[in-house]
């Protein structure tokens, strides 16, 4: 069966879509150039995952989503993500391609925090968005999918925290694909200005078991000098969604960026998380967990590049594979010349629960500087029979013992998810996927 490789939308469509949204000229320009680039550029180059037969072209692009008046209107699945006391929190709920709910406290507004959907931000803060949008983070011309992202962008949020502002409460966005065929070309742009602090958590949810669609997500995070950003995510697209997720961090001097990613998609997924430690004494932890099941194939890359002196990067990836799921885990620590006294550490571990599953951990260290410390650990294995023996010797059943070992295996990342309700929900998603 030949897989359609051309988009079902033409340049005229993109032009009209941009005009309909009253987008600034600079952005319409990016879209149109990106459209042409998307025709020419190759797909992302993956060493070990074959994506030739994946669906990247069958989807609906522009699907409206109704506003909600009350949180009671939301399905249970979405409500549990938001938890109690939701009216007082700073939240955006995106439904299909529209914002259904948005709230930012007056206090944060007064401090100059901007938290709104990306189209509104382009209108109201055009210069600020233009300064960061696909410039120094992810480039439009990286591959066919980044170009398509810019051309077809249909959703997104912009979060800006001004200098010295500390946002105490976590900020949360739920992207809810209510329509089973709606594609999500979603852009998250997070700028934490100098010495600011913010915690951001996002959830992606869909229900399309049968219907096919695509998610093409680009997150660009800027932690400017002295800023502290904590970024948590739970990706939970259903089986029918083919996902391309590209999360990119740029970290300034004395700044910190902490990633905690729950990569729980049920469909085929390419997920790339790259952090560039630009400033001296910058720091990043990139933590990610995944559970693969069914026939899904996933390709994960976690990369930290060190440019600043005495920069520290720690990658931790833990994956559990069952059924006939296949996953590749690339861990890349790159130390550029001049990034003296840097430390690049990584750990990738895969736990196999069935004979038909495949898992592959590829640790890579690329070092162009003498004065560094670096290390890696990688393993692919089964649940340790001695651990099971120990737990069972206390009366715990085999099933429960396995459950404890698996949860324990994933916990170093799960416990880093900043919002407790999201953490709890991630544990439930893991529970649901493993059993």
């Amino acid at each position: 069966m030949a897989v359609e490789t051309h988009l079902p939308y033409d340049k005229q469509y993109v032009t009209e879509y941009s005009e309909k949204r009253n987008e600034p000229a600079w952005f319409k320009d990016i879209r149109l150039k990106a459209f042409d680039l998307a025709e020419e550029l190759p797909m992302p180059k993956l060493e070990k995952t074959r994506i030739r037969n994946w669906n990247f072209t069958n989807f609906k692009h522009d699907v409206a989503g109704n506003n909600i008046d009350s949180f009671d209107e939301l399905p249970e699945k979405i409500r549990v993500l938001l938890g109690e006391g939701v009216e007082d929190r700073n939240i955006i709920v995106v439904r299909n391609n529209d914002v259904a709910y948005a709230k930012l406290s007056e206090d944060l507004k007064a401090k100059g925090v901007i938290f709104e959907d990306i189209f509104t931000a382009m209108e109201e803060h055009s210069d600020l968005v233009q300064k960061y949008f696909m410039q120094d983070g992810v480039s439009v011309d990286e591959n066919k999918l980044t170009a398509r992202h810019a051309a077809l962008l249909n959703s997104g949020v912009f979060l800006y925290v001004p200098k010295n502002v500390v946002v105490d409460e976590p900020i949360q966005v739920v992207f809810w694909q209510e329509d089973n065929e709606a594609a999500l070309y979603n852009h998250v742009l997070l700028v934490a200005d100098q010495h600011s602090q913010v915690t951001y958590v996002e959830n992606y949810v869909s229900n399309n078991e049968e219907e096919e669609t695509v998610a093409n997500i680009v997150s660009e995070v800027f932690a400017l000098d002295g800023a502290k950003v904590s970024y948590g995510a739970v990706d939970n697209f259903a089986k029918g969604t083919t996902s391309y997720v590209n999360r990119r961090g740029t970290v300034g001097r004395d700044a910190t960026l902490e990633w905690a990613l729950g990569q729980m998609n049920d469909g085929n997924t390419i997920s790339e998380n790259i952090t560039n430690l630009m400033g001296d004494n910058s720091l990043s932890h990139a933590k990610a967990v995944t559970v693969g099941r069914g026939n899904q194939s996933q390709d994960f890359t976690a990369k930290i590049s060190h440019y600043g002196k005495a920069s520290e990067g720690y990658i931790l990836q833990h994956g559990v594979m069952k059924d006939r799921a296949a996953s590749i885990f690339n861990g890349i620590g790159k130390v550029e010349h001049g990034a003296a006294q840097s430390n690049a550490e990584q750990e990738s571990r895969v736990l196999m629960l069935s004979d038909g599953a495949r898992g592959d951990a590829n640790p890579i260290l690329l070092i162009d500087e003498d004065d560094v410390t670096a290390g890696h650990a990688a393993s692919v294995g089964r649940v340790d029979p001695l651990q099971l023996f120990y737990l069972m010797s206390r009366g715990i059943s085999r099933k429960e013992a396995e459950r404890l070992v698996i949860h324990g295996f994933l916990d170093p990342v799960v416990r880093e998810i900043p919002i407790e309700t999201v953490q709890t929900q991630l544990r439930e998603v893991i529970e649901g996927k493993v059993y």
Partner: protein, 261 residues
Amino acid sequence: MAGSTLEIKDLHVEIEGEEILKGVNLTINGGEFHAVMGPNGTGKSTLASAIMGHPKYEVTKGQVLLDGEDVLEMEVDERAQAGLFLAMQYPSEISGVTNSDFLRSSINAQREEGDEIPLMKFIKEMDATMDSLEIDKNMAQRYLNEGFSGGEKKRNEILQLMMLKPAIGILDEIDSGLDIDALKVVSNGINQMRDEKFGCLIITHYQRLLDYITPDHVHVMMQGRVVKSGGPELAHRLEAEGYDWIKEELGIDDETVGQKA
């Protein structure tokens, strides 16, 4: 009721095709403390592990019965639920599972569904037991055995023993790696378990543990069998004279079994 009875009859055990136990016979009644002694490499730990169902050990012949029930037919968790407990020489480290959660799951696994131990009761009991074993309180929230020192692991095994209150406790070299103060604390905990019901099988190759825990019966293992049994006086004689006199008496040249010389 005078507690449970564990009967080990003509037990033969192999590891990776090599026979380590060559017909062990032993009966432990509720209320009795038995010590199994012997030099290294004589099969003592194999006995403990095989009774509990360690995956590496294969029983090729013989029986293990708990109150007449065939233990060897049971899954490992069923053996625990039937009343057996093994304090391990090398307990596994399990990341991401806190000591406290593990202990509570273990206790609840032995109770009926709907009759789980109330959280407050559990915490109170755990705190008190940890105090009596002089265990640092933060150990409850640390991951199970992860990064524990040798002594902490041993105390943690005894903590579990005391909380789970099995019918028969098997303690595999619980004294190894403990300094004298820790040994006293751990022995004190084990002695607290002593009543007319609790049966205990203590495996050790140091006589010093028996200075603190007085066994009712002492057995010596060599070459994968129990070669001599007696009362507490046997332990004293071993302490004073070592094992050579037994080897001479029985005409044993090399007391070890299997590859480990």
